[in-house]
Symmetry: C2
Subunit: 105 residues, 2 copies
């Protein structure tokens, strides 16, 4: 029952998030990724286990995560670092970075 | 300069997070993962692009993420769903789930 409720909420939230998803440009994302590579690695494999690997992650999820950091909605863990990094990213930057990391294996 | 500052904050936060990291049990994590699989897939590859893939993700990061959801520190995106799912997870459950998903390819 709990699962069913969660799933319905999930679908409802998904519908909202899908409306704001725009595909990004891989090359532009790569060009913007130098700072990210400091922690997440040149190929999207994190340099330390406290950081997430980004290679092959779903672009739509990555966009939502970056926007949540930028909007200071994501707290806890390493969120303070990511909030700072995401502060000056536009929606387009975020879409491009997400497309780039999603494209890596 | 901004990068340097962020990196120092990152290292400081990492030191704190490392102190609370405990390795989990893969088999126990797998046994607990049935609900997670509804969205994140039976093998940790998400069923929809709004959800993150978990296969091969760093266990330490996964633990921090799950605890941030459980403690309602992570907002935005699909956080409402994850907050609900994580509510009843113990630190041991979280360590086991992180170990399991980290072990997948």
């Amino acid at each position: 029952m709990k699962l069913t409720t969660s799933f319905i909420v999930g679908i409802a939230t998904l519908s909202i998030s899908s409306m704001t998803f725009a595909a990004g440009d891989v090359a532009a994302g790569k060009a913007k990724s130098a700072v990210c590579a400091t922690c997440h690695g040149a190929e999207g494999i994190a340099i330390m286990p406290a950081y997430p690997n980004l290679a092959g992650q779903n672009a739509e999820y990555l966009q939502a995560a970056l926007k949540s950091y930028r909007d200071k909605q994501r707290q806890g863990g390493m969120a303070a670092v990511m909030q700072m990094q995401a502060t000056n990213l536009s929606d387009e930057d975020i879409a491009n970075l997400a497309a780039y990391y999603s494209s890596l294996k």
